[in-house]
Amino acid sequence: MKKHVLAVILWVSAVAAGLVLPACQPQSGGSLGGAFGVRELGEGRQEIVDGVGRRFLLVPEGKSALPGYPPTQIITIPVKRVGAGLPYDIGAMRYLGVLSDSLVGVIRREDRWASADVRAGIRSGKIAYLGEPNGIDYERLRVVSPDVMLTSDKRLLPKLDELKIPAIITTTPMAMTIEERLQYFYFLAALFGREEMAKQYEAVIQAKLAEVKKQTTSVSRKPKVIWGDIYQKRVLVEPMNSYVAQLVEVAGGDYLFDDVRGASCLEITLERFFSSGLQADIFFTYRSPAVGIDSKQKLITENPRLADIKPFKTGLVYCPQPHFYESLERLDDIIVEIAAILHPQLYQGYELQFFQKLD
Protein backbone atom coordinates (compact mmCIF):
# COMPACT_ATOMS: atom_id res chain seq x y z
CA MET A 1 0.00 0.00 0.00
CA LYS A 2 2.81 2.36 1.00
CA LYS A 3 4.56 1.58 -2.26
CA HIS A 4 1.43 2.52 -4.22
CA VAL A 5 1.04 5.82 -2.36
CA LEU A 6 4.71 6.61 -2.97
CA ALA A 7 4.34 5.74 -6.65
CA VAL A 8 1.28 8.01 -6.98
CA ILE A 9 3.07 10.88 -5.22
CA LEU A 10 6.13 10.45 -7.43
CA TRP A 11 4.00 10.25 -10.55
CA VAL A 12 1.99 13.37 -9.65
CA SER A 13 5.20 15.27 -8.76
CA ALA A 14 6.85 14.27 -12.04
CA VAL A 15 3.80 15.36 -14.04
CA ALA A 16 3.54 18.65 -12.10
CA ALA A 17 7.27 19.35 -12.52
CA GLY A 18 7.05 18.59 -16.24
CA LEU A 19 4.11 20.95 -16.63
CA VAL A 20 5.59 23.73 -14.54
CA LEU A 21 9.11 23.64 -15.93
CA PRO A 22 8.36 25.64 -19.11
CA ALA A 23 6.89 28.39 -16.92
CA CYS A 24 10.16 28.71 -15.01
CA GLN A 25 11.99 29.96 -18.09
CA PRO A 26 9.67 32.61 -19.47
CA GLN A 27 10.20 33.93 -22.95
CA SER A 28 11.20 37.52 -23.23
CA GLY A 29 10.30 40.12 -25.80
CA GLY A 30 8.54 39.38 -29.07
CA SER A 31 4.82 39.76 -29.00
CA LEU A 32 2.84 37.47 -26.75
CA GLY A 33 -0.08 39.86 -26.75
CA GLY A 34 -1.60 41.77 -23.85
CA ALA A 35 -0.23 45.26 -23.17
CA PHE A 36 1.79 46.43 -26.19
CA GLY A 37 0.80 43.34 -28.15
CA VAL A 38 0.98 43.35 -31.94
CA ARG A 39 -1.14 41.01 -34.06
CA GLU A 40 -0.99 40.56 -37.81
CA LEU A 41 -4.42 40.75 -39.46
CA GLY A 42 -3.32 40.15 -43.05
CA GLU A 43 -2.64 42.44 -46.02
CA GLY A 44 -0.31 44.54 -43.88
CA ARG A 45 -3.02 45.38 -41.36
CA GLN A 46 -2.10 44.95 -37.70
CA GLU A 47 -3.85 45.23 -34.38
CA ILE A 48 -1.90 46.78 -31.53
CA VAL A 49 -2.89 46.97 -27.88
CA ASP A 50 -1.82 49.98 -25.84
CA GLY A 51 -0.71 49.99 -22.21
CA VAL A 52 -4.24 49.96 -20.81
CA GLY A 53 -5.65 47.39 -23.22
CA ARG A 54 -7.22 49.60 -25.92
CA ARG A 55 -7.04 48.06 -29.38
CA PHE A 56 -5.97 50.00 -32.44
CA LEU A 57 -6.16 48.97 -36.04
CA LEU A 58 -3.12 49.88 -38.11
CA VAL A 59 -3.96 50.18 -41.77
CA PRO A 60 -1.31 50.63 -44.49
CA GLU A 61 -1.82 53.67 -46.69
CA GLY A 62 -4.30 52.96 -49.46
CA LYS A 63 -5.88 49.96 -47.74
CA SER A 64 -9.37 49.97 -46.22
CA ALA A 65 -10.05 49.64 -42.49
CA LEU A 66 -11.74 46.62 -40.91
CA PRO A 67 -15.03 46.98 -39.02
CA GLY A 68 -15.20 46.91 -35.23
CA TYR A 69 -12.84 49.77 -34.36
CA PRO A 70 -13.91 53.29 -33.33
CA PRO A 71 -12.64 55.95 -35.79
CA THR A 72 -10.05 57.27 -33.32
CA GLN A 73 -8.65 53.77 -32.92
CA ILE A 74 -7.84 53.38 -36.61
CA ILE A 75 -4.39 54.62 -37.60
CA THR A 76 -2.89 54.84 -41.05
CA ILE A 77 0.68 53.58 -41.15
CA PRO A 78 3.45 54.51 -41.38
CA VAL A 79 2.68 57.31 -38.96
CA LYS A 80 4.32 60.57 -39.97
CA ARG A 81 3.38 63.08 -37.26
CA VAL A 82 3.54 62.19 -33.58
CA GLY A 83 2.90 64.15 -30.41
CA ALA A 84 4.45 62.80 -27.20
CA GLY A 85 4.49 63.50 -23.51
CA LEU A 86 6.68 60.84 -21.96
CA PRO A 87 10.48 60.89 -22.00
CA TYR A 88 10.79 57.20 -22.80
CA ASP A 89 8.55 57.56 -25.86
CA ILE A 90 11.07 60.07 -27.12
CA GLY A 91 13.96 57.69 -26.40
CA ALA A 92 12.26 54.82 -28.21
CA MET A 93 11.48 57.03 -31.23
CA ARG A 94 15.12 58.05 -31.32
CA TYR A 95 16.23 54.40 -31.37
CA LEU A 96 13.78 53.61 -34.16
CA GLY A 97 15.27 56.46 -36.16
CA VAL A 98 12.02 58.41 -36.52
CA LEU A 99 12.46 61.16 -33.93
CA SER A 100 13.76 63.94 -36.15
CA ASP A 101 11.19 63.35 -38.90
CA SER A 102 8.09 62.40 -36.94
CA LEU A 103 8.05 64.23 -33.61
CA VAL A 104 5.89 67.32 -34.12
CA GLY A 105 4.82 68.20 -30.60
CA VAL A 106 5.72 67.60 -26.98
CA ILE A 107 4.12 68.20 -23.61
CA ARG A 108 6.45 70.09 -21.19
CA ARG A 109 8.54 73.19 -21.70
CA GLU A 110 11.87 73.18 -23.46
CA ASP A 111 13.87 73.49 -20.23
CA ARG A 112 12.20 70.34 -18.86
CA TRP A 113 13.68 68.19 -21.60
CA ALA A 114 17.24 66.92 -21.30
CA SER A 115 17.77 65.74 -24.86
CA ALA A 116 19.59 68.24 -27.05
CA ASP A 117 17.64 67.19 -30.16
CA VAL A 118 14.26 67.79 -28.51
CA ARG A 119 15.35 71.14 -27.06
CA ALA A 120 16.71 72.26 -30.41
CA GLY A 121 13.51 71.12 -32.11
CA ILE A 122 11.34 73.14 -29.71
CA ARG A 123 13.59 76.20 -30.11
CA SER A 124 13.49 76.04 -33.86
CA GLY A 125 9.72 75.56 -33.89
CA LYS A 126 9.96 72.18 -35.59
CA ILE A 127 8.56 70.59 -32.45
CA ALA A 128 5.57 72.40 -31.01
CA TYR A 129 5.17 72.96 -27.29
CA LEU A 130 1.72 71.56 -26.46
CA GLY A 131 1.45 72.71 -22.86
CA GLU A 132 1.99 71.09 -19.50
CA PRO A 133 0.58 67.79 -18.22
CA ASN A 134 -2.04 69.65 -16.20
CA GLY A 135 -2.81 72.21 -18.85
CA ILE A 136 -2.73 71.03 -22.44
CA ASP A 137 -3.03 73.69 -25.11
CA TYR A 138 -5.80 72.06 -27.15
CA GLU A 139 -5.91 74.91 -29.64
CA ARG A 140 -2.28 74.37 -30.52
CA LEU A 141 -2.78 70.63 -30.54
CA ARG A 142 -5.57 71.08 -33.06
CA VAL A 143 -3.32 73.19 -35.26
CA VAL A 144 -0.38 70.76 -35.00
CA SER A 145 -2.81 67.88 -35.57
CA PRO A 146 -0.53 64.87 -35.06
CA ASP A 147 -1.51 61.52 -36.60
CA VAL A 148 -1.08 59.98 -33.15
CA MET A 149 -0.59 61.27 -29.62
CA LEU A 150 1.50 59.16 -27.26
CA THR A 151 0.55 59.89 -23.67
CA SER A 152 0.22 58.50 -20.17
CA ASP A 153 -2.77 60.65 -19.32
CA LYS A 154 -6.18 59.04 -19.74
CA ARG A 155 -7.86 62.39 -19.06
CA LEU A 156 -6.89 63.48 -22.55
CA LEU A 157 -8.93 60.75 -24.22
CA PRO A 158 -12.31 62.53 -24.56
CA LYS A 159 -10.71 65.76 -25.76
CA LEU A 160 -8.50 63.97 -28.25
CA ASP A 161 -11.53 61.99 -29.43
CA GLU A 162 -13.25 65.31 -30.09
CA LEU A 163 -10.21 66.46 -32.07
CA LYS A 164 -10.20 63.09 -33.87
CA ILE A 165 -6.60 62.44 -32.84
CA PRO A 166 -5.88 58.82 -31.89
CA ALA A 167 -4.40 58.76 -28.38
CA ILE A 168 -2.22 55.85 -27.37
CA ILE A 169 -1.51 55.23 -23.69
CA THR A 170 2.10 54.11 -23.31
CA THR A 171 2.06 53.43 -19.58
CA THR A 172 0.64 50.35 -17.88
CA PRO A 173 -1.40 50.01 -14.68
CA MET A 174 1.24 47.63 -13.30
CA ALA A 175 4.94 48.48 -13.37
CA MET A 176 6.48 47.54 -16.69
CA THR A 177 8.74 44.51 -16.71
CA ILE A 178 11.78 44.10 -18.97
CA GLU A 179 9.62 41.84 -21.14
CA GLU A 180 7.03 44.61 -21.50
CA ARG A 181 9.74 47.18 -22.27
CA LEU A 182 10.91 44.99 -25.13
CA GLN A 183 7.36 44.39 -26.28
CA TYR A 184 6.76 48.14 -26.18
CA PHE A 185 9.45 48.58 -28.85
CA TYR A 186 7.67 46.14 -31.16
CA PHE A 187 4.44 48.02 -30.49
CA LEU A 188 5.93 51.41 -31.30
CA ALA A 189 7.87 50.03 -34.27
CA ALA A 190 4.60 48.81 -35.81
CA LEU A 191 3.42 52.43 -36.05
CA PHE A 192 6.44 53.42 -38.11
CA GLY A 193 7.06 50.20 -40.01
CA ARG A 194 10.36 49.67 -38.16
CA GLU A 195 9.84 46.11 -36.92
CA GLU A 196 13.40 45.15 -37.88
CA MET A 197 14.74 47.79 -35.50
CA ALA A 198 12.64 46.36 -32.67
CA LYS A 199 13.99 42.89 -33.36
CA GLN A 200 17.51 44.27 -33.39
CA TYR A 201 16.82 46.07 -30.10
CA GLU A 202 15.56 42.91 -28.46
CA ALA A 203 18.61 40.95 -29.61
CA VAL A 204 20.98 43.61 -28.23
CA ILE A 205 19.20 43.77 -24.87
CA GLN A 206 18.92 40.00 -24.50
CA ALA A 207 22.61 39.60 -25.29
CA LYS A 208 23.54 42.27 -22.77
CA LEU A 209 21.30 40.77 -20.08
CA ALA A 210 22.97 37.39 -20.61
CA GLU A 211 26.45 38.91 -20.59
CA VAL A 212 25.92 40.89 -17.38
CA LYS A 213 24.25 37.95 -15.70
CA LYS A 214 27.19 35.71 -16.58
CA GLN A 215 29.68 38.30 -15.39
CA THR A 216 27.99 38.85 -12.04
CA THR A 217 27.20 35.22 -11.14
CA SER A 218 30.74 34.75 -9.89
CA VAL A 219 30.46 37.42 -7.17
CA SER A 220 30.55 36.10 -3.65
CA ARG A 221 28.12 38.59 -2.15
CA LYS A 222 25.04 40.20 -3.63
CA PRO A 223 24.62 43.80 -2.47
CA LYS A 224 21.20 44.52 -1.00
CA VAL A 225 19.36 47.19 -2.94
CA ILE A 226 16.24 49.30 -2.43
CA TRP A 227 14.72 51.66 -5.00
CA GLY A 228 12.18 54.29 -4.06
CA ASP A 229 11.51 57.56 -2.32
CA ILE A 230 10.29 58.76 1.00
CA TYR A 231 8.29 61.95 1.12
CA GLN A 232 6.80 63.87 3.99
CA LYS A 233 3.72 61.68 4.19
CA ARG A 234 4.23 58.87 1.72
CA VAL A 235 6.72 56.16 0.81
CA LEU A 236 6.84 55.11 -2.84
CA VAL A 237 9.00 52.25 -4.07
CA GLU A 238 9.60 50.30 -7.23
CA PRO A 239 7.92 46.87 -6.93
CA MET A 240 9.63 43.59 -7.71
CA ASN A 241 7.84 43.39 -11.06
CA SER A 242 9.33 46.68 -12.28
CA TYR A 243 12.10 46.61 -14.87
CA VAL A 244 14.50 48.41 -12.51
CA ALA A 245 14.05 45.74 -9.84
CA GLN A 246 14.62 43.09 -12.50
CA LEU A 247 17.74 44.91 -13.70
CA VAL A 248 19.10 44.92 -10.14
CA GLU A 249 18.57 41.15 -9.92
CA VAL A 250 20.17 40.56 -13.34
CA ALA A 251 23.12 42.75 -12.31
CA GLY A 252 23.78 40.50 -9.34
CA GLY A 253 21.94 42.46 -6.67
CA ASP A 254 19.49 41.39 -4.03
CA TYR A 255 16.37 43.53 -4.43
CA LEU A 256 14.81 43.82 -1.01
CA PHE A 257 11.29 44.84 -2.03
CA ASP A 258 10.88 41.44 -3.65
CA ASP A 259 7.55 40.89 -1.91
CA VAL A 260 6.06 44.14 -3.21
CA ARG A 261 4.14 43.81 -6.45
CA GLY A 262 2.05 46.33 -8.36
CA ALA A 263 2.19 49.72 -10.06
CA SER A 264 5.35 51.68 -10.64
CA CYS A 265 6.23 53.88 -7.64
CA LEU A 266 3.93 51.89 -5.42
CA GLU A 267 3.04 53.18 -2.00
CA ILE A 268 4.12 51.06 0.96
CA THR A 269 4.14 51.64 4.69
CA LEU A 270 6.96 53.44 6.43
CA GLU A 271 7.58 50.31 8.52
CA ARG A 272 8.01 48.13 5.42
CA PHE A 273 10.40 50.67 3.96
CA PHE A 274 12.48 50.73 7.11
CA SER A 275 12.58 46.96 7.50
CA SER A 276 14.47 46.81 4.18
CA GLY A 277 16.19 50.18 4.54
CA LEU A 278 18.00 49.01 7.66
CA GLN A 279 19.60 46.14 5.70
CA ALA A 280 20.20 47.80 2.33
CA ASP A 281 23.67 48.58 1.02
CA ILE A 282 22.52 50.73 -1.88
CA PHE A 283 19.56 53.09 -2.15
CA PHE A 284 18.39 54.36 -5.53
CA THR A 285 16.24 57.47 -5.28
CA TYR A 286 14.49 59.44 -8.00
CA ARG A 287 15.18 62.68 -6.15
CA SER A 288 18.09 64.35 -7.83
CA PRO A 289 19.82 67.72 -8.20
CA ALA A 290 17.07 68.58 -10.70
CA VAL A 291 14.71 68.90 -7.71
CA GLY A 292 17.33 70.40 -5.41
CA ILE A 293 18.67 67.20 -3.87
CA ASP A 294 22.42 67.00 -4.48
CA SER A 295 23.64 65.26 -1.33
CA LYS A 296 22.66 62.70 1.28
CA GLN A 297 22.47 65.55 3.78
CA LYS A 298 19.87 67.40 1.69
CA LEU A 299 17.72 64.26 1.62
CA ILE A 300 18.10 63.88 5.37
CA THR A 301 17.19 67.53 5.90
CA GLU A 302 14.00 66.94 3.88
CA ASN A 303 13.23 63.76 5.75
CA PRO A 304 15.26 63.20 8.94
CA ARG A 305 13.97 59.63 9.26
CA LEU A 306 16.22 58.62 6.35
CA ALA A 307 19.29 59.14 8.53
CA ASP A 308 18.47 55.86 10.26
CA ILE A 309 18.67 53.61 7.22
CA LYS A 310 21.92 51.86 6.33
CA PRO A 311 22.67 53.47 2.94
CA PHE A 312 22.82 56.84 4.70
CA LYS A 313 25.12 55.55 7.43
CA THR A 314 27.56 53.22 5.71
CA GLY A 315 26.09 52.53 2.28
CA LEU A 316 25.63 54.29 -1.02
CA VAL A 317 22.89 56.49 -2.46
CA TYR A 318 22.40 57.05 -6.18
CA CYS A 319 19.99 59.13 -8.21
CA PRO A 320 19.37 59.33 -11.96
CA GLN A 321 20.93 62.05 -14.07
CA PRO A 322 18.41 64.26 -15.90
CA HIS A 323 18.80 62.47 -19.26
CA PHE A 324 18.19 59.02 -17.72
CA TYR A 325 14.45 59.16 -18.35
CA GLU A 326 14.97 60.06 -22.01
CA SER A 327 17.60 57.35 -22.48
CA LEU A 328 15.66 54.19 -21.76
CA GLU A 329 16.37 53.05 -25.31
CA ARG A 330 19.91 52.54 -24.00
CA LEU A 331 18.77 49.83 -21.63
CA ASP A 332 21.86 47.78 -22.50
CA ASP A 333 24.14 50.54 -21.18
CA ILE A 334 21.90 51.08 -18.15
CA ILE A 335 22.18 47.39 -17.24
CA VAL A 336 25.98 47.63 -17.35
CA GLU A 337 25.91 50.78 -15.24
CA ILE A 338 23.76 49.19 -12.56
CA ALA A 339 26.12 46.19 -12.53
CA ALA A 340 29.09 48.59 -12.22
CA ILE A 341 27.43 50.33 -9.26
CA LEU A 342 26.65 47.03 -7.57
CA HIS A 343 30.02 45.41 -8.31
CA PRO A 344 32.65 48.14 -8.83
CA GLN A 345 35.40 45.52 -8.55
CA LEU A 346 34.18 43.95 -11.81
CA TYR A 347 33.97 47.24 -13.70
CA GLN A 348 37.06 49.14 -12.58
CA GLY A 349 37.44 52.56 -14.13
CA TYR A 350 33.78 52.69 -15.18
CA GLU A 351 32.43 56.22 -15.40
CA LEU A 352 28.78 56.81 -14.58
CA GLN A 353 26.60 58.04 -17.45
CA PHE A 354 23.03 57.64 -16.19
CA PHE A 355 23.25 57.82 -12.41
CA GLN A 356 25.14 59.95 -9.96
CA LYS A 357 26.30 59.26 -6.47
CA LEU A 358 25.00 61.45 -3.65
CA ASP A 359 27.73 62.02 -1.05
Binding site: V20, A23, L32, G33, G37, G53, N134, L157, T269
Partner: protein, 274 residues
Protein backbone atom coordinates in the same frame (compact mmCIF):
# COMPACT_ATOMS: atom_id res chain seq x y z
CA UNK B 1 -31.08 4.25 -24.22
CA UNK B 2 -32.60 4.68 -20.77
CA UNK B 3 -29.99 2.29 -19.46
CA UNK B 4 -27.18 4.32 -20.98
CA UNK B 5 -28.56 7.56 -19.52
CA UNK B 6 -28.83 5.90 -16.11
CA UNK B 7 -25.26 4.64 -16.36
CA UNK B 8 -24.00 8.13 -17.26
CA UNK B 9 -26.06 9.61 -14.41
CA UNK B 10 -24.65 7.09 -11.96
CA UNK B 11 -21.12 7.73 -13.20
CA UNK B 12 -21.54 11.47 -12.64
CA UNK B 13 -23.33 11.01 -9.32
CA UNK B 14 -20.21 9.73 -7.64
CA UNK B 15 -18.33 11.11 -4.65
CA UNK B 16 -15.05 9.50 -5.79
CA UNK B 17 -15.34 11.44 -9.03
CA UNK B 18 -15.81 14.66 -7.03
CA UNK B 19 -12.62 13.97 -5.04
CA UNK B 20 -10.64 13.20 -8.20
CA UNK B 21 -11.92 16.36 -9.88
CA UNK B 22 -11.12 18.48 -6.83
CA UNK B 23 -7.57 17.11 -6.83
CA UNK B 24 -7.29 17.76 -10.57
CA UNK B 25 -8.51 21.35 -10.11
CA UNK B 26 -5.99 21.90 -7.29
CA UNK B 27 -3.08 20.49 -9.29
CA UNK B 28 -4.20 22.47 -12.32
CA UNK B 29 -4.31 25.70 -10.32
CA UNK B 30 -0.88 24.99 -8.87
CA UNK B 31 0.56 24.63 -12.36
CA UNK B 32 -1.38 27.70 -13.50
CA UNK B 33 0.09 29.76 -10.67
CA UNK B 34 3.58 29.43 -12.19
CA UNK B 35 2.43 30.26 -15.71
CA UNK B 36 0.38 33.19 -14.45
CA UNK B 37 3.42 34.71 -12.75
CA UNK B 38 5.81 33.91 -15.57
CA UNK B 39 3.67 35.46 -18.33
CA UNK B 40 1.74 38.36 -16.81
CA UNK B 41 1.29 40.08 -20.16
CA UNK B 42 -0.74 37.13 -21.44
CA UNK B 43 -2.98 36.70 -18.40
CA UNK B 44 -3.35 40.29 -17.15
CA UNK B 45 -5.77 41.22 -19.96
CA UNK B 46 -8.25 38.76 -18.44
CA UNK B 47 -9.12 41.55 -16.01
CA UNK B 48 -10.52 43.74 -18.75
CA UNK B 49 -11.21 41.50 -21.74
CA UNK B 50 -14.19 39.23 -22.24
CA UNK B 51 -13.26 35.57 -22.10
CA UNK B 52 -14.07 34.69 -25.76
CA UNK B 53 -12.09 37.73 -26.95
CA UNK B 54 -9.12 36.77 -24.74
CA UNK B 55 -9.28 33.19 -25.96
CA UNK B 56 -9.39 34.28 -29.59
CA UNK B 57 -6.69 36.90 -29.49
CA UNK B 58 -4.30 35.72 -26.78
CA UNK B 59 -4.99 32.24 -25.45
CA UNK B 60 -5.08 30.39 -28.75
CA UNK B 61 -2.06 32.30 -30.03
CA UNK B 62 -0.06 31.26 -26.96
CA UNK B 63 -1.39 27.77 -26.34
CA UNK B 64 1.92 26.58 -24.91
CA UNK B 65 1.41 29.08 -22.09
CA UNK B 66 -2.37 29.02 -21.69
CA UNK B 67 -3.17 25.31 -22.05
CA UNK B 68 -3.66 24.98 -18.28
CA UNK B 69 -6.49 27.50 -18.40
CA UNK B 70 -8.44 25.31 -20.84
CA UNK B 71 -7.89 22.18 -18.73
CA UNK B 72 -8.92 24.20 -15.68
CA UNK B 73 -12.16 25.21 -17.43
CA UNK B 74 -12.76 21.58 -18.37
CA UNK B 75 -12.22 20.34 -14.80
CA UNK B 76 -14.37 23.11 -13.35
CA UNK B 77 -17.23 22.35 -15.74
CA UNK B 78 -16.89 18.64 -14.94
CA UNK B 79 -16.92 19.45 -11.23
CA UNK B 80 -19.97 21.65 -11.75
CA UNK B 81 -21.82 18.88 -13.59
CA UNK B 82 -20.80 16.37 -10.92
CA UNK B 83 -22.06 18.66 -8.14
CA UNK B 84 -25.29 19.36 -10.04
CA UNK B 85 -26.00 15.66 -10.58
CA UNK B 86 -25.18 14.72 -6.96
CA UNK B 87 -27.31 17.57 -5.59
CA UNK B 88 -30.23 16.85 -7.93
CA UNK B 89 -30.10 13.17 -7.03
CA UNK B 90 -30.24 13.98 -3.33
CA UNK B 91 -32.98 16.59 -3.72
CA UNK B 92 -35.08 14.14 -5.72
CA UNK B 93 -34.83 11.64 -2.86
CA UNK B 94 -35.76 14.27 -0.26
CA UNK B 95 -38.77 15.39 -2.30
CA UNK B 96 -39.86 11.76 -2.81
CA UNK B 97 -39.81 11.33 0.97
CA UNK B 98 -41.66 14.58 1.65
CA UNK B 99 -44.38 12.73 3.55
CA UNK B 100 -41.80 11.55 6.13
CA UNK B 101 -41.16 15.08 7.37
CA UNK B 102 -43.39 16.29 10.22
CA UNK B 103 -43.71 19.79 8.76
CA UNK B 104 -42.60 22.07 5.94
CA UNK B 105 -39.90 23.68 8.07
CA UNK B 106 -38.18 20.34 8.76
CA UNK B 107 -38.39 19.59 5.04
CA UNK B 108 -36.78 22.94 4.15
CA UNK B 109 -34.07 22.48 6.76
CA UNK B 110 -33.23 19.09 5.24
CA UNK B 111 -33.20 20.69 1.80
CA UNK B 112 -31.10 23.72 2.77
CA UNK B 113 -27.51 22.37 2.30
CA UNK B 114 -28.47 21.28 -1.19
CA UNK B 115 -29.97 24.68 -1.96
CA UNK B 116 -26.59 26.14 -0.97
CA UNK B 117 -24.90 23.78 -3.44
CA UNK B 118 -27.25 24.91 -6.17
CA UNK B 119 -26.63 28.54 -5.21
CA UNK B 120 -22.86 28.11 -5.54
CA UNK B 121 -23.35 26.52 -8.96
CA UNK B 122 -25.59 29.39 -10.05
CA UNK B 123 -23.02 31.91 -8.80
CA UNK B 124 -20.32 30.11 -10.81
CA UNK B 125 -22.54 30.09 -13.90
CA UNK B 126 -23.20 33.80 -13.27
CA UNK B 127 -19.47 34.47 -13.21
CA UNK B 128 -18.93 32.51 -16.39
CA UNK B 129 -21.80 34.37 -18.07
CA UNK B 130 -20.42 37.69 -16.83
CA UNK B 131 -17.08 37.11 -18.54
CA UNK B 132 -18.53 35.37 -21.59
CA UNK B 133 -21.76 37.07 -22.65
CA UNK B 134 -22.33 40.80 -23.05
CA UNK B 135 -19.76 43.57 -23.22
CA UNK B 136 -17.15 45.13 -20.98
CA UNK B 137 -16.22 48.69 -21.98
CA UNK B 138 -13.21 50.10 -20.17
CA UNK B 139 -11.66 53.57 -19.92
CA UNK B 140 -14.76 55.69 -20.33
CA UNK B 141 -13.33 59.02 -19.22
CA UNK B 142 -15.90 61.64 -18.25
CA UNK B 143 -14.97 65.27 -17.78
CA UNK B 144 -16.88 68.42 -16.99
CA UNK B 145 -16.32 69.84 -20.45
CA UNK B 146 -16.94 67.02 -22.89
CA UNK B 147 -19.47 64.31 -23.67
CA UNK B 148 -18.75 60.65 -24.23
CA UNK B 149 -21.13 58.27 -25.95
CA UNK B 150 -22.31 55.19 -24.12
CA UNK B 151 -21.04 52.41 -26.40
CA UNK B 152 -23.70 50.90 -28.65
CA UNK B 153 -26.45 53.25 -27.47
CA UNK B 154 -27.92 56.67 -28.32
CA UNK B 155 -26.90 57.98 -24.88
CA UNK B 156 -24.15 60.49 -24.09
CA UNK B 157 -22.52 60.85 -20.69
CA UNK B 158 -20.95 63.90 -19.12
CA UNK B 159 -19.58 64.55 -15.67
CA UNK B 160 -21.88 67.06 -13.99
CA UNK B 161 -20.35 67.25 -10.52
CA UNK B 162 -17.69 65.40 -8.56
CA UNK B 163 -17.69 65.56 -4.78
CA UNK B 164 -14.66 64.06 -3.08
CA UNK B 165 -14.48 63.28 0.62
CA UNK B 166 -11.00 63.49 2.17
CA UNK B 167 -9.40 62.10 5.29
CA UNK B 168 -9.12 64.85 7.88
CA UNK B 169 -6.29 65.69 10.27
CA UNK B 170 -7.37 62.98 12.72
CA UNK B 171 -6.39 60.27 10.26
CA UNK B 172 -2.96 58.63 10.09
CA UNK B 173 -0.38 61.08 8.77
CA UNK B 174 0.07 59.27 5.47
CA UNK B 175 -3.69 59.38 4.84
CA UNK B 176 -4.35 63.01 5.76
CA UNK B 177 -5.78 64.98 2.87
CA UNK B 178 -6.25 61.93 0.68
CA UNK B 179 -9.57 60.90 -0.81
CA UNK B 180 -11.77 58.35 0.96
CA UNK B 181 -14.65 58.33 -1.45
CA UNK B 182 -16.10 60.19 -4.39
CA UNK B 183 -19.63 60.84 -5.54
CA UNK B 184 -20.07 61.57 -9.21
CA UNK B 185 -23.22 63.08 -10.69
CA UNK B 186 -23.39 62.16 -14.34
CA UNK B 187 -25.70 63.62 -16.94
CA UNK B 188 -27.12 61.10 -19.38
CA UNK B 189 -28.51 62.66 -22.52
CA UNK B 190 -30.43 60.74 -25.15
CA UNK B 191 -30.58 61.75 -28.81
CA UNK B 192 -33.85 63.69 -28.27
CA UNK B 193 -32.50 66.26 -25.84
CA UNK B 194 -33.85 64.48 -22.76
CA UNK B 195 -31.37 64.45 -19.86
CA UNK B 196 -31.25 62.57 -16.61
CA UNK B 197 -28.76 62.69 -13.76
CA UNK B 198 -27.43 59.49 -12.24
CA UNK B 199 -25.23 59.20 -9.18
CA UNK B 200 -22.24 56.88 -8.87
CA UNK B 201 -19.95 56.03 -5.99
CA UNK B 202 -17.34 53.39 -5.29
CA UNK B 203 -19.11 50.10 -4.61
CA UNK B 204 -22.36 51.82 -5.63
CA UNK B 205 -22.66 51.06 -9.33
CA UNK B 206 -25.73 52.15 -11.21
CA UNK B 207 -28.05 50.35 -13.61
CA UNK B 208 -29.16 52.39 -16.55
CA UNK B 209 -31.18 50.95 -19.43
CA UNK B 210 -29.44 47.59 -19.21
CA UNK B 211 -25.99 49.07 -18.63
CA UNK B 212 -24.11 48.60 -15.38
CA UNK B 213 -21.96 51.69 -14.74
CA UNK B 214 -19.06 51.30 -12.31
CA UNK B 215 -16.83 54.07 -10.99
CA UNK B 216 -13.21 53.03 -11.50
CA UNK B 217 -10.98 56.04 -10.95
CA UNK B 218 -11.30 59.72 -10.32
CA UNK B 219 -9.30 62.88 -9.83
CA UNK B 220 -8.59 64.73 -7.53
CA UNK B 221 -7.43 61.95 -5.27
CA UNK B 222 -5.97 64.29 -2.66
CA UNK B 223 -6.35 67.87 -1.51
CA UNK B 224 -2.98 68.63 -3.14
CA UNK B 225 -4.23 67.49 -6.55
CA UNK B 226 -7.42 69.54 -6.21
CA UNK B 227 -6.27 72.05 -8.79
CA UNK B 228 -6.07 69.42 -11.51
CA UNK B 229 -8.96 68.98 -13.93
CA UNK B 230 -11.46 66.59 -12.35
CA UNK B 231 -12.48 63.46 -14.16
CA UNK B 232 -14.01 60.06 -13.50
CA UNK B 233 -13.29 56.82 -15.27
CA UNK B 234 -16.15 54.37 -15.71
CA UNK B 235 -16.36 50.74 -16.63
CA UNK B 236 -19.57 49.94 -18.45
CA UNK B 237 -20.86 46.39 -18.58
CA UNK B 238 -23.82 44.76 -20.20
CA UNK B 239 -25.09 41.21 -20.10
CA UNK B 240 -27.21 38.87 -17.99
CA UNK B 241 -24.34 37.64 -15.79
CA UNK B 242 -24.98 40.00 -12.90
CA UNK B 243 -28.65 38.99 -12.66
CA UNK B 244 -27.76 35.28 -12.62
CA UNK B 245 -25.11 36.02 -10.02
CA UNK B 246 -27.65 37.91 -7.85
CA UNK B 247 -30.16 35.05 -8.22
CA UNK B 248 -27.45 32.71 -6.91
CA UNK B 249 -26.77 34.98 -3.94
CA UNK B 250 -30.52 35.11 -3.15
CA UNK B 251 -30.78 31.33 -3.21
CA UNK B 252 -27.66 31.12 -1.06
CA UNK B 253 -29.26 33.43 1.53
CA UNK B 254 -32.45 31.33 1.55
CA UNK B 255 -30.41 28.14 1.93
CA UNK B 256 -28.20 29.45 4.69
CA UNK B 257 -31.20 30.88 6.58
CA UNK B 258 -32.92 27.47 6.75
CA UNK B 259 -29.59 25.79 7.45
CA UNK B 260 -28.99 28.05 10.47
CA UNK B 261 -32.58 27.55 11.66
CA UNK B 262 -31.78 23.93 12.45
CA UNK B 263 -29.36 25.06 15.15
CA UNK B 264 -32.07 27.02 16.98
CA UNK B 265 -34.29 23.94 16.77
CA UNK B 266 -31.50 21.71 18.09
CA UNK B 267 -31.00 24.07 21.03
CA UNK B 268 -34.77 24.11 21.73
CA UNK B 269 -34.87 20.29 21.64
CA UNK B 270 -31.92 20.10 24.05
CA UNK B 271 -33.54 22.56 26.44
CA UNK B 272 -36.76 20.53 26.35
CA UNK B 273 -34.80 17.33 27.03
CA UNK B 274 -33.06 18.90 30.02
Amino acid sequence: MVNLARRIWNFLCNLDLAVILLLAVSLNLLVGYFYFNAYPSVFRPLTYMMLPEWMRSLALANLAITWWFFTFLFFMIALGVNSFVCTTDKIAKIITNYACYPNGLRFMIRLSPHLIHYAVLIILVGHLTLVTVGMNYQHNILRLDSQVSLPGSPYHLQLQKLEVRYYDKNAMISYQGRAIDATADITVADGNGQTEIIRLRFNRPCWYEGYALHLDEFLPTSRESKRQEPYVELTVRTGPGIKIFLAGILLFIIGITFYLLQFTRIRKTREQTI
